[in-house]
Amino acid sequence: MNRFAALLDRLAYEPRRNAKIRLMADYFRETEDPERGYALAAITGALTFRHAKPNVIRTLIEERTDPYLFDLSRDFVGDTAETIALMWPAERGSNYVPALGEIILGLQETSKLDLPGQIARWLDALDETGRWALLKLITGALRIGASARLAKTAVASLGENIQPDDVELVWHGLEPPYETLFAWVEGRGPRPETENPAPFRPPMLATAIEDTANWREALDPADFTAEWKWDGIRVQAASGRDPEGTLSARLYSRTGEDVSGAFPDLLGAIDFEGAIDGELLILKEGRVQSFNVLQQRLNRKAITPKLMADYPAHIRAYDLLVEGEEDLRGLPFAERRIRLENFIRRLGNPRIDLSPQVKFADWNELTAARADPATGGAGVDADAVEGLMLKRKDAPYVPGRPKGLWFKWKRDPFNVDAVLMYAQRGSGKRSSFYSDYTFGVWRSGDEGEELVPVGKAYFGFTDEELAELDRFVRKNTINRFGPVREVTHEPDTGLVLEVAFEGLNRSTRHRSGVAMRFPRISRIRWDKPPKEADRIEHLEALLREAG
């Protein structure tokens, strides 16, 4: 357990993606089965414990510490589990350190009555970091800055020529402690047979068309089909028969997370054998709702009948990966599309429909459709169109982001001219640069014109621009708060940033009342004085347009 805890501790502080992968790979290499498999389960969030609840732990610490000292400590530390981990009185002679696997099995199997005593014995035996990791495991707050995807990437890196997507393919049939998985990546065993009747298939992703030089000349319109790119969440609806012949359905996010539990209303519609790649949308009275509306459903924890009635979930199908038991991914897109159209028609379920294709003869026609999706075929759903997808007719379904097969062509993002207000040091390679920028727009305040922060951006600029921005921040600092610097932002002195973003949400958490999606610095307006930056009314108008 202490080694696993040390790994978590290190991951929690390490900002670099590649370094995290190496830390995990190093741990997996040096740790034996089944311990490392349980660690993988803990990191990927594959574990739940019924009886282990935060209040059990609170009772334990109250029995062992002076309440006044606990309160002073809690105030200083700022986190209850961490305070308990640090304050837990050392028990001399209790030096048997439990393995992670033992703890996990114990948490799953110990009765509610015996659990507090068991947890106390573990805490006695662990060191501070070990106790912290155990308490985070129990309270389900194991936010360690390493996603499931990163952990699988680390597992893949143990083998030769095994890609993260290969691990993803077998993942859903596996259970902790994943001994067959490790045996396979290390070349000691066969590829695990996936027993999951409805496994996740890693999705095929598109590259931005703008990244292809001279694409209008380089690409032949006759080789491609086009369809709308919907502003929802990309999902995979899969279903298959288990050995007993029972149909089992799953809904996965694009990263392979099983999100079935959040969409019981959709799960009932997945009553076919096969796998559909599509977009999850809220469809009400025949109209696709905006992403804001979908967000409201996603924000709710409890899935009530009222929630499902108010925000009915829907799948708009892009592709058919499996039909019956036949894997279609090797077929050209044009063939899969015909199979998909027939499949959806036979299904006849109002919750699942087909994403329509956009007819075009040349790039100009397509440009026109993109500029005005309403008349380009998207009709009343035009507001939910995020752009276009171009797919080569002869492209097989290749997991990952293969070059030259699928392209996304987004609608022009929103733009705002904002004033730089605060800058913060970045993380990782950029930790010595002021690379995270908080910007604001003008509004009328009680004491005249004032800037209100509307967002934060930390990408969109080149390395040279970063160096220039960093220099600007250092030269124009008017206040320091640890890693944050406040920079001059007066009507005539300061820096205007042109910020591009994908959409706006109303937000009560932000002082300005709006929250931007994917903001990024699109241009640095060295030429523009701050007083000419945009006003909050500009964003409010965009918000109204977006519905």
Binding site: A6, R10, A12, Y13, E14, P15, R16, A19, R22, L23, D26, T65, D66, Y68, L69, L72, S73, F76, V77, G78, D79, E82, T83, L86, M87, A90, D127, E128, M421, Y422, Q424, R425, K429, S431, S432, F433, T438, P453, V454, G455, K456, N479, R480, F481, G482, P483, V484, E486, H510, R511, S512
Partner: protein, 318 residues
């Protein structure tokens, strides 16, 4: 009477200064030879008779080279001023000795029960493991210049680290002084500015503030480590930008504060320099008379070197 050379305990400009010979040499090094009008070196254990029948003596505090507790004795009543101290072994200075007394004036830098320092060698092992796992990255360790930096060097040597240890220009003089005083630090070298790019896989010790300066950017993909007792608390470690926090302290932790108070046998405790309330409360639960001593002082040297910012979210409210 000065317990040790840290800037929150020792400043220039006094009329007459009494301290251990090492502390006086450190003060001369930091403030110039004329830092006081007159100085009187006192060896550990030597008894100095003061006016009015008071006897003073200096005893090892285990904090940094030359650090001392000061015992004042008058008509059989004994008061000990601890200065800063620690109980954990430190190869760069004389170990703490318990001085029985009636009144013990203790520091309380880490006077909260969340501060329990792990063995320093385990923390050093983390640093060495990381340098071995990421041999292409420079490992920069923020540590305060007097005491902590040299202790890290000595601990690295004990852990079998045989490569040269690099140091920031600001700590060259004091580290060379430690060497001249007979503390074995091995091959220590100042960082040559133009050669920073070549220091992948090396361990470089620097003042904490240097981790955030332009100076640190030229190292290959640096890992920001920081060695301090404050690293025990995650929020503090993050606030200081540590990517590899090392809980290594030159102050007693909570358990050792309590143990030391009991070891001295003192019936009255005055608490200063840190979280006074918690330790005063603890003393009272032990049946000891205790009070906080709110000194007008110079602040904490280590805290001065570590940034103490508010939460960034407060600074940038959006």
């Amino acid at each position: 009477m000065i317990t040790h050379g840290h800037s929150d305990h020792a400043r220039a400009g006094h009329g007459a200064v009494m301290a251990t010979p090492e502390t006086l040499r450190i003060m001369a090094l930091r403030y110039g030879e004329d830092f006081a009008r007159s100085v009187q070196p006192v060896e550990y254990g030597e008894i100095v008779k003061l006016k009015g029948g008071v006897q003073a003596s200096f005893h090892p505090a285990g904090h940094v080279l030359g650090s001392a507790q000061i015992l004042l004795e008058w008509k059989g009543f004994r008061a000990v001023i601890s200065g800063d101290y620690k109980r954990e072994r430190d190869p760069t200075c004389a170990p703490f000795t318990v001085i029985p007394c009636d009144l013990f004036i203790t520091e309380a830098t880490f006077g909260l029960p969340v501060f329990r320092h792990p063995p320093a060698r385990d923390e050093i092992a983390k640093l060495v493991d990381s340098a071995e796992l990421f041999p292409e990255r420079a490992h920069l360790v923020g540590a305060y210049s007097l005491g902590k930096a040299q202790r890290l060097m000595a601990l690295l040597r004990e852990a079998g680290w045989q490569r040269p240890i690099y140091m920031h220009g600001a700590m060259v003089r004091i580290s060379e002084f430690y060497k001249a005083e007979g503390v074995p630090l091995g091959d220590i070298r100042p960082v040559v500015l133009d050669e920073r790019k070549k220091l992948g896989g090396e361990i470089v010790i620097c003042p904490p503030s240097a981790l955030q300066e332009l100076w640190s950017r030229k190292f290959p993909d640096p890992v920001s480590a920081m060695a301090s007792g404050w690293m025990r608390v995650r929020a503090r470690a993050r606030q200081n930008g540590a990517e590899l926090p090392l809980v290594i302290s030159d102050h007693a932790d909570w358990d050792d504060l309590g143990r030391t108070i009991l070891d001295t046998g003192a019936q009255e405790i005055w608490v200063t320099h840190g979280a006074e309330e918690a330790l005063v409360h603890w003393c009272e639960t032990q049946g000891l008379k205790a009070k906080p001593l709110h000194l007008l002082g110079y602040g904490d040297e280590e805290a001065e070197e570590l940034a103490k910012p508010p939460e960034p979210s407060e600074a940038a409210p959006i």
